[in-house]
């Protein structure tokens, strides 16, 4: 067991709470940096998808997991980022600038989509964001002058500050670097007043207001930041796929993003990343399993959604805290060994909340 002896308030602000964390995260960073040399290019490519999905998940987690606002239209922000990047890059803009613009345009759209959140909550907000998702999907199809419509859009090969990103390895490092920046930014937010305001809104809007938190301002900020992060992921996605078409950004993709959060564990950054990794790995495992299964099952078109559906149900029933929750339990088990009790993570009885002002 580890006891932290704190001698000043800085210790509670630090990102790494103790030397052990610092050690393990450095080890993880080294392993991730070494990975592209050790893995086949197929798995490097899958890792790139994990990083990109992890960026989206962290962005969506900021909104859903930390601010408590549901969005089932996030694929639309991904599309906005991807197409903005694809278009501006084709005009010859440098990557740093076009990436910033992709984030900016998605972010500004996020503010607009966030406006209904000031009036409606829960299911109604979900419907509003869903409608937004459909509008963007339709808009992308119709605006064929810019997006190429249904025939799609080719995205040129990427150069960052004159360095061509022409191999999977280089793309891997670029995506990993941007993911690291995004995670750092979100962690900074969460240890500062802005992030606490988000969490306050999630847990009790009425008392958040009484603490001087302007709901309208913080809800739109959350939407804007979440959308901007998703836009950044969209830009990387465009360069990874090299080809964009409207059917990559459908309603189903938005649902997938939410499933990633639930499977990973709502309300933690780890959860977002675990979820993204799990998602990509299981997809690949299904592809591999298809060759082994009898054709009557393996060749069914609905195989993948069915498996994901079952996984989602299993998580909700048996591990509502997601992969991160499972990880916490395993870690606590070893930290407290042999004193771990079965009921330690059982959900506490919550007290009746005031319904008077809702």
């Amino acid at each position: 067991m580890r006891f932290l002896f704190k001698t000043d308030y800085q210790r509670d602000i630090r990102l790494f709470k103790h030397g052990g964390q610092m050690f393990w995260y450095s080890a993880l960073a080294l392993a991730l940096i070494a990975a592209p040399w050790l893995l086949s290019s197929y798995w490097v490519s899958q890792f790139i998808f994990i990083w990109i999905y992890a960026i989206v998940s962290v962005g969506l987690m900021l909104l859903v997991g930390f601010t408590g606002q549901v969005s089932i239209g996030h694929a639309a922000f991904l599309a906005m980022g991807a197409y903005t990047e694809g278009y501006l890059y084709s005009l010859g803009w440098p990557f740093a600038l076009s990436l910033t613009f992709a984030a900016l345009i998605a972010g500004i759209t996020g503010i607009i989509v966030g406006l209904p959140a000031l009036r409606v909550k829960g299911m109604y907000l979900a419907i509003a964001t869903l409608a937004f998702g459909f509008i963007v999907e339709e808009g992308v199809t119709r605006a064929d002058g810019i997006t190429g419509g249904n025939s799609g859009m080719m995205v040129g090969s990427l150069q960052v500050f004159g360095l061509p990103i022409d191999s999977e390895q280089r793309m891997y490092y670029l995506c990993l670097f941007i993911l690291a920046l995004v995670v750092l930014g979100v962690m900074n937010l969460l240890r500062s007043p802005t992030g606490r305001a988000f969490v306050a809104i999630r847990d009790s809007e009425i008392s958040a207001q009484s603490m001087g938190i302007n709901l309208a301002y913080y809800k739109t900020t959350a939407f804007a930041l979440s959308a901007a992060i998703t836009g950044i992921a969209g830009a990387l996605y465009a360069h990874k796929l090299r080809f964009l078409s409207p059917e990559q950004f459908t309603f189903l993709q938005s649902i997938e993003l939410l499933i990633i959060l639930v499977v990973g564990g709502i309300g933690s950054i780890y959860g977002a990343i675990f979820g993204a990794a799990f998602w990509i790995v299981v997809q690949q495992l299904i592809v591999i399993a298809k060759d082994w299964l009898p054709p009557a099952i393996g060749q069914q078109t609905g195989l993948q959604p069915t498996i994901f559906g079952l996984i989602l149900i299993a998580f909700i029933l048996f591990e509502p805290m997601g992969l991160y929750g499972r990880w916490l339990k395993i870690r606590t088990y070893f930290q407290l060994f042999p004193f771990y009790r079965k009921g330690m993570f059982r959900r506490q009885k919550s007290y009746m909340k005031s319904e008077r002002l809702k």
Binding site: Y9, P193, R196, D203, Q209, S210
Partner: protein, 256 residues
Amino acid sequence: MKPLLTANHLSIQFGGLKAVSDVSFEVWPNEVFSLIGPNGAGKTTIFNMISGHYRPSDGFVTFEGEKISHLPPYEIARLGIARTFQNIELFEHATVLQNLLVGRHCHRHTNWLQDLLFTPATRRAELQFRRTVEEVIEFLELQHYRDSMVAGLPYGVRKVVELGRALAMRPKLLLLDEPSSGLNVEETEDMGFWIEDIKNDLGVTVIMVEHDMGLVSRVSDRVLALNQGEELALGSAAEVQSHPAVVEAYLGGADV
């Protein structure tokens, strides 16, 4: 001396129901002012009108001489009015420390971009917030619970955490909605000491809605009794308790 807060002919209607009608009172700096009355008398409704959650249909509230009834709740909070809730409205999935730090929100001066980058300004502000919050933690003896999640705490402790969160705002006026509800005798006793300390040591004015007459008589300077949205009596706790209209409202009329 000027009153800190005045309620001027406050009235509010929900549909056809007049929840509060024509209630006026003044609260002086550094006093404990209690609102009492049977259920449905409109006490919490008056609180919600002061803190901006309800807009009065008639009349207005002033704070330090300024009209505040048209302001949204978060701006009223920034003026220095903090409140607690009847049924505890804490941020459940955060630690006690984080809850109290939210109380410092109205004193923030960094924006989201500075927070995103965690600039030196944000860090300095965080340390400053933490020092203030630690003073509150010490005042309310919450050291033991500092890093516990609110969701797992017993009811009595949550009540104190909520009080602490309001105090972390360093308010000029504190609205306490039934501070002793759900507390046992000992905890109520503690609550009484804290309210006295809040008034005497921190110099904060308190308006309190309370049913426990023991606590009310112990800490209140003045008491306003309400019934069905109307004023019954105003005065010291003993005066109000023996007032015939109050006795009738609580116990029923002699002719029943």
